[in-house]
Amino acid sequence: MTSAPPEGIGIDATAASTPAVAPMPAARPRRRFRTHLVVFIAPAAAIYTIFMVYPLLDSLRLSLYAPVDGVQTFVGLDNFVHLVSDDLLSDAFWNAVWNNLVFFAVHFFVQNPIGLLLAALLAAPTLRGRSAYRTLLFIPTTLSVVIVGFIWQLIISPVWGFVETPLLGQSSTALVTLALMSVWQYIGIPMILFYAVLISIPDELIEAATVDGAGAWSTFWRVKFPLILPTVGIVSVITYVANMNAFDLIYTVKGALAGPDFASDIMGTLFFRTFFGFQLQQGSSTMGATVATMMFLLILAGVLAYFYGWQRRIQSYQL
């Protein structure tokens, strides 16, 4: 994805635009230390390192420790073994993993196709009022999850009477209902990403298809869709990472216990409960770190599957 840097922009172009691998000219004068490089890069790198990279690594480290007599002691992979096999913990863990995958599947099969449909309609060159549609359709995405959760809780509450069955109160429907609420909110993101790539398709390609007698439908599937396949992959992986990391909506609507009877418990709420404790459950920073590490590994697995499974195949298919 990282394209080759353009040949020497700026002053260095004359002196040192050759890549680092090329042998340096023997007579090349030793460059003075470039203070401005440090001034430009160091602040961003420092904040990023101290407040993101270091805590992340520290969390991963903590997942290998456990308190023994009040002292954090190295225990190897014990926490992970507990998490996936201990009677109490593993039920909650596998339940959360499964629910998380369901949560993702709803987004993948409902949100992204509808987002693509809306984007395709918006990108049609003859459409009038496009920017108004674009703004209106994106509005739910700008709201906070707290607001979205309550708006839908009110609307589907039997008190107002729009829906008779308590969708959020039954273990069979709670998770999917929550996922659909989240789809409603975030549909703007795949829509805008698909829209951006659809309007960048050169007109000549579409004209050529039209001249060849293709209708709008077959033009879309035979010309446009293959061209946006890489974006389909990126949108999928963004959806996956965002969903594996979800928390706010379920916490807002169902609380940390993610009821009824943990039917809507996902990794994020499990992480929160494990870390801080809830009701009878004691909070534990090392077990919390263990859950976070498992989330990290699941996200990593998804991202790697995308890069090695999907993106490579797409590229060879396109060439």
Binding site: T2, P6, M52, S144, E207, A216, T252
Partner: protein
């Protein structure tokens, strides 16, 4: 881009456009689908805002009616302002969001400028190191972040939130802005250098030319920060440093059965971002579509 509503793609339309049934459907159907979805997207929000201004009785009896003089009731808003310190929460959210956006844009553009402009050993490593953060959610480091904040004495301080959000926003900002700085013509910068400008001066000259990227990153950074619940819940639960999102969440928990108050607080919490988004939506979309994410 959007101004070109009548494209030169005459071939697409039959010679007698609009006459046939098919052509008419071709124009109408997309509008029908889009309007239907606009109702799905905006209807619930309109319903909440509308009912926030009505009396308790009218909320339940005529949920779809606009507030009329006989049904208007601002009691909900009164409860919100007397029972919770929402003006304080708004100020806190404002400080955190503006502080973060300024830091992300300043530090991000400096680093991006250096990565786009200079060649140096290790540039690939630095770029990759910063880019890794785009894909890894910072939330996974929460255990370590809370630990660090306790040690730095930054728990229950807005500065702590700003630092975490800045770390969260920087990777994407650097990545996107690097692409924008690479498009700035080199002649301009070289001319400035020949005139004796320092590298810092050259950066200041190039900065305005990356404006579309800065606008997109600004909006893109702002939204998730204003709306975040996770870090305020963990790092700043104290009354004096609460953000709007956390304040709303706690208020809703307390007043769950007072529908007037609930609807009023939802409306209040939604309006700032809604207004801001509608004002900046053009920049946002243009930033995203002009190569920000490709």
């Amino acid at each position: 881009m959007s101004a070109v509503s009548t494209p030169p793609r005459g071939v697409a339309r039959p010679p007698r456009a609009g006459r046939t049934w098919r052509a008419r459907a071709g124009v109408a159907v997309p509008h029908l689908i889009l309007i239907a979805y606009v109702v799905v997207a905006c209807g619930p929000i309109a319903l909440i805002v509308m009912n926030a201004f009505k009396s308790r009785q009218a909320i339940f009896e005529e949920p779809f009616a606009f507030p009329t003089p006989s049904t208007v009731d601002l009691g909900g808003f009164e409860t919100v302002f007397t029972r919770a310190r929402f003006e304080l929460y708004f100020l806190n959210s404002f400080i955190v969001t503006v502080g973060t956006v300024v830091l992300v844009l300043l530090l991000g553009s400096m680093a991006a400028f250096a990565l786009a402009e200079y060649r140096f050993a290790g540039i690939t490593v630095v770029s990759l190191y910063l880019a890794v953060g785009i894909m890894i959610p910072i939330r996974l480091g929460t255990v370590g972040i809370l630990d660090l904040m306790v040690r730095l004495n930054l728990v229950n301080s807005l500065a702590g939130l700003v630092l975490v959000y800045t770390a969260m926003g920087l990777p994407l900002a650097v990545f996107v802005l690097t692409a924008f700085f690479k498009q700035v013509p080199g002649d301009l910068k070289d001319a400035a250098r020949i005139d004796g400008a320092s590298e810092y001066r050259v950066y200041a000259l190039a900065l305005p030319l990356a404006r579309p990227g800065l606008a997109a990153i600004g909006v893109y950074t702002m939204l998730p920060i204003w709306n975040d619940l996770w870090f305020p819940l963990i790092l700043t639960p104290g009354e004096g440093v609460r953000t709007v999102t956390l304040g709303t969440q706690l208020f809703l928990g307390q007043f769950v059965s007072d529908w007037n108050a609930v609807l009023a607080v939802l409306t209040l919490a939604a309006l700032p971002m809604l207004a801001l988004f509608i004002i900046f939506s053009r920049q946002f979309v243009r930033g995203l579509t002009s190569g920000a994410i490709k």
